[in-house]
């Protein structure tokens, strides 16, 4: 009681024996970063149809949250969803195949970048309607409670979704019925091309708290902090304590989508550079791993090389994979 506990993020993750878990998180963050850089490359070279919304800069959130989940727990993702899907266990080769519209993709090419779904990893689907998956995630938590299977659902959304009414309708339901759902708000600072301060009145945390939902602000660039916060609320939700809301501060390094390259009209290069050089989640975590002797530089370089090679192979796989047969266009409209 009198004795103060250590800083929130330390006890869980600095203990010996956790190195494997830590390095796995590092590996996943790198995989997302490299994946997204290749997406940008494929888009720039006009190999990828359509467009994509990159998660670069926000990797610590997906990885920190999903590291606290069981493989059969549910997530819903967003239009900026590659990171969530990879962190929940999706394989980069089938992800790239989906992004290229190939039959080997997670959705046989029918979903594309914004709709990766995979029952095997509990991924209920990425959603291209802002706030569109609040109902689905809350409903999955409703099923989990009803069926007593101990699962938890995580609803990822950006701060742009704070403007959508359905989010508050479902948070009300979740707290009324004590559903095991975690609302993870990734505040990457920009609603598309508009700073969130121009769209968001009042105190964001006061919104879930008005429903009586536990809500906490988390440094979204610190994967350890995200993991610790997630572990706590996920465990509580699993034990029947109901929903929680995590507000993760982060920054979208790139444009709203891959084609948004001239951004000076809504934010400065200096601002971008400041986040990249001072607040990069991967560098921050890598430095900490070395400082705390969970790894040395050579080990991290080895991980980086392995991840890069995996991503290369995944791109190769997707490029070589065939498109679906045209006759598939009318398949799976109805179950």
């Amino acid at each position: 009681m009198a004795k103060k506990t250590k800083k929130t993020s330390e006890p869980e993750l600095s203990t010996a024996g956790k190195s494997d878990h830590l390095l796995q998180m590092y590996r996943q963050m790198l995989a997302i970063r490299f994946f997204e850089e290749r997406v940008n490359d494929l888009y720039t070279r006009a190999i990828m149809p359509g467009l994509a919304h990159l998660y670069i800069g926000e990797e610590a959130i997906a990885v920190g949250i999903c590291s606290a989940l069981r493989s059969d727990d549910y997530i819903t993702s967003t239009h900026r969803g590659h990171g969530h899907c990879l962190a929940k266990g999706a394989s980069p080769d089938r992800m790239f195949a989906e992004l290229l519209g190939k039959e080997a993709g997670y959705c046989r090419g029918k979903g594309g970048s914004m709709h990766i779904a995979d029952p095997a990893t509990g991924n209920l689907g990425a959603n291209a309607i802002v706030g569109g998956s609040a109902g689905i995630a809350t409903g999955a938590a409703f099923s989990a409670k009803r069926l007593g299977n101990g699962r938890v659902a995580v609803c990822f959304f950006g701060e742009g979704a704070l403007g959508q009414g359905v989010l508050y309708e479902t948070m009300n339901l979740a707290q009324l019925w004590k559903l095991p759902v975690i609302y993870v708000c990734e505040n990457n600072t920009y609603n598309e091309y508009t700073h969130y301060s121009e769209t968001t009145a009042g105190d964001v945390l006061a919104r879930p708290r008005a429903f009586g939902i536990f809500a906490e602000r988390v440094d979204g660039q610190d994967v350890r902090a995200v993991y610790v916060a997630a572990k706590s609320v996920v465990d509580k939700a699993r034990n029947g304590d109901g929903p929680a809301f995590l507000l993760c501060d982060t920054y979208r390094y790139r444009g709203h989508h891959v084609g948004d390259v001239s951004r000076e009209y809504y934010r400065s290069k200096q601002e971008e550079q400041k986040w990249v050089s001072e607040r990069d989640p991967i560098k921050f975590f890598g430095d900490w791993l070395i400082a705390e002797k969970h790894a040395d530089t050579a080990q991290l370089q080895k991980i980086s090389a392995e991840v890069a090679s995996n991503i290369d192979a995944a791109v190769q796989f997707a490029m070589a994979a065939p498109f679906p047969e045209t006759r598939e266009v009318q398949q799976d409209v109805y179950a």
Binding site: L124, G125, I129, S143, L173, Y334, A335
Partner: protein, 341 residues
């Protein structure tokens, strides 16, 4: 869970009784809830109140309020929740009190429920039923009187059911609940007290099969929901002047039993489509087009459409009544198509 095979009984069986359409709907829900513990009901005032129309009265007594669940007045929220619940092992039936309120749930139905299966490459399924209402003439004005079933019929991935009799309502609703797709079930609120014979033994009616409500040779009247009663009344009037009308109820606007419609018109050479939705860009337009394409060389006259007047539904009784198709309108149109005076 085991799913016992149910036989489809299309003919009137030995034992039957009179039920109202509302009672038939409640019986379908009760039977499916007894049969399958995954089925549950969500909506505003569905439990002890049994809905504003009292259609569900008593269900919460048998099944408890954790299967007949009162929700906040959050149509988008609880419908969205039901989509997620349907994807993850339950079979929710959501109740949207007035069909006008579907405007509030459009994203959940059209962008989420309808597309989940396709977008996921066939991996996730959404076995969800949305029950809602249609129909004017309750003096409820512009936001409680519309017939908006065409909206959902326009969206691939959804099925849309419009029962016109207690027998059809029960059999179609049981099929809708067992269907692995999102199904929207429109009930005409003026028909809840309509009586009809319903067998005591179990039966289902497949979605996508039209029913010939009356046979005839001179003209085909295609009608949906309460307009089936209007068409049948018009057919009786036509009979008095020597015109034999066939009345066909598609029962589902999607899937649509095009073959039955086309075959009937090939026989009669004339067709009128009657539906309480707006005619413009509506169900009557689609069905008329199906008939025109499928039976063009058999038609003696252009296909005639009769739908709601293209105005917001007014409150004042004489004004409201002027917006809804009547048997007299159908009679006059049929007489004109058959060139009788």
């Amino acid at each position: 869970m085991s799913t016992p095979e149910m036989k489809t009984v299309m003919e009137a069986p030995a034992s039957q009784r009179e039920l109202t359409l509302g009672e038939a709907i409640k019986e379908a829900l009760a039977e499916e809830m007894r049969r399958d513990p995954r089925v549950l009901i969500l909506g505003e005032d569905v439990a002890e109140a049994g809905t504003v129309f009292k259609v569900l009265s008593g269900l919460s007594t048998e099944f408890g309020t954790d299967r007949v669940i009162d929700t906040p007045i959050s149509e988008a929220g609880f419908t969205g929740l039901a989509v997620g619940a349907a994807m993850t092992g339950l079979r929710p039936v959501v109740d949207i009190m007035f069909g006008d309120f579907i405007a509030l749930v459009m994203d959940q139905m059209a962008n989420q429920a309808a597309k989940v299966h396709y977008m996921s490459g066939g991996k996730w399924k959404v076995p969800l039923v949305m029950r809602t209402t249609l129909g004017a003439s309750r003096r409820s004005a512009a936001q409680h009187s519309q017939s908006l079933h065409a909206w959902f019929s326009h969206v691939p991935g959804l099925k849309v059911v419009l029962p016109s009799t207690p027998y059809d309502a029960k059999g179609l609703l049981k099929s809708a609940i067992r269907d692995d797709n999102p199904v929207v079930f429109f009930e005409d609120k003026m028909m809840y007290r309509l009586k009809g014979t319903v067998p005591t033994e179990e039966y289902t009616i497949p979605l996508g099969v039209a029913d010939v409500k009356r046979s005839g040779d001179d003209i085909t009247l295609v009608a949906t929901s309460s307009m089936v009663q209007v068409a049948l009344a018009a057919a009786k009037m036509l009979e008095d002047i020597g015109i034999s009308a066939e009345v066909i109820d598609p029962r589902t606007t999607w899937p649509l039993d095009e073959e039955t419609l086309i075959e009937s018109v090939k026989k009669t050479s004339r067709a009128i489509v009657v539906d309480e939705g707006y005619a413009r860009y509506g169900v009557t337009a689609e069905i008329a087009s199906v008939i025109a394409e499928g039976a063009f060389h058999y038609l003696d006259q252009p296909v005639k459409r009769i739908g709601a007047m293209h105005v917001p539904i007014p409150f004042s009784p004489p004004l409201e009544d002027a917006t809804v198709p009547t048997e007299q309108m159908v009679f006059e149109a049929a007489r004109s198509l058959c060139r009788r005076s």
